[in-house]
Amino acid sequence: MTRFLRRLDPAPLLLSLPAGLILGLFLLLPLLATALLSFRSYSLYTGIEPVLELGNYLEIFGDGYFLEIFLRTARIAALATLLTILIGAPEAIILMRMRAPWRGLFLLVALGPLLISVVSRTLGWALLLGSTGVVNTALMAAGLIAEPIRFMYTEWGVTVALAHVLLPFMIISVMTVLQRLDPQVENASHALGAGGVTTFRRVILPQLLPGIFAGSIIVFAMAASAFATPQIIGGRRLKVVATLIYDEYLFSLNWPLGAALALLLFAIVIVVAVGFNRLAESRFARMYG
């Protein structure tokens, strides 16, 4: 017995206790409570009723209104992800090819915005492309357009702003992969007589894909659950799931329905992320195995 106790080192337990307690108590418990809440029912007169039923989920799946918002959210998140790939992957390559002072400087440009509040970055798009924004005012003053370009409250507006906000994550993912690449491989390909396009398609792109995959998972998950950007650009007129949840909670006060929406969003994000991850792993397992 004493021997057993001597072997059981108390140190790791004590060391992990603070973090374990905080996360267990204040992360897992609230999430479980939210799951429970999503099975309650709510009425304007009686408030939250202590029942356990699927009413909220049935309402969400049965109502075209909710379905439309979910579809819109998916569409925006997918397009924003695509945009970050198209812009971020080439830019990551360009950044990696840069030399001493320039690379550091433009890394600041590419990654630095992560440190600026999302609200400020999104506000920039509203000021730039809003109906009284800089671009529209200038174009109309120049007589190039009669009507302002519609950006606010449009899907493409939300998509572009989200892509801008999330682009750094894609660049980081691709660059992380690029850093592990052996520069000699590219040279070897050229030495073997392959041209630039062939080298890119046959040598660089396949090695880039894991980074693009990883970046896509992050960007999609964050875009699908983004709140601030769709709230500023889309507002009440163009709701996505996150802004819908916000309204349910703070204006309709139907917390059980909001909880069900939040859990569904959480589930979708997890399923997509895990699914993509599996796919990526099976695809790239051999390359890194």
Binding site: L23, F26, I87, G133, V134, E186, I245, Y249
Partner: protein, 271 residues
Amino acid sequence: MSRRNGPWALIFHTLFVVFMLAPILVVCVIAFTPEGYLSMPTDGLSLRWFRALWNNPDFVSSFRVSLALGAASASAAAAVSIPAAIAITRCDFPGRGAFLALCMSPLMVPSIVLGVAFLRFFSQIGLSGTLVGLTLSHVILIVPYVLRTIMNSLGSLDAALNNASASLGAARWHTFRRITLPLILPGVASGWILAFITSFDEVTMTIFLAAPETTTLPVRLMLYIEDSIDPLVAAVSTVLIVMALAVMILIDRLFGLDRILTGAPDRDGKP
């Protein structure tokens, strides 16, 4: 990646830089407009909107709340993450993998979900709208970042240093204080700064939790924008951007920005 960028690459790069910076710059420029409405400051720069901001008690108090919240939650997160990182990297105990997963799990949960979960939980345990509740929620959000940077620093330390200290007669606590802590301090500091800025900028979760007197700056800005967009919000944003720039330069000087943001391990474990 030894090849140079061609002309097309440079054109692409220029467009990228414009895309990245245009929305940020336009905010900073409009903040200096002398007019009462959104416009480019074509006839001269003015500080009138910064003065308006200075005289706006709501924004000023929110700024204070954000600073306090960021500092408190970054410090608390570091305080729980240092022992956790030591346990994970230095000890072999049953449930180690599960514990690491638990500590990293906040990264997997969308902020909006955390927001609604904490909203109800805090109202049930009487913490709603309090600074304590906000701090707790922010600690949970930023623990993964702090933990990861500290684990990176610990991982790059030679484990024999611990053994050397023990063989020289030092007890574990003494070894921690005199050897481990000084050597991981740069990692802890960069984790703290990253956590501070993450907490300072957080809006999605906080908007559910803040009471009027505990409203943070980004949340105040967000709520203001929902009502109206005028040059005042540009002035607030400019302050936020300048702060971010200062932090960026600080981190870059201290540790290299790319290393902190990409979570790459230290170039060498020594200070």
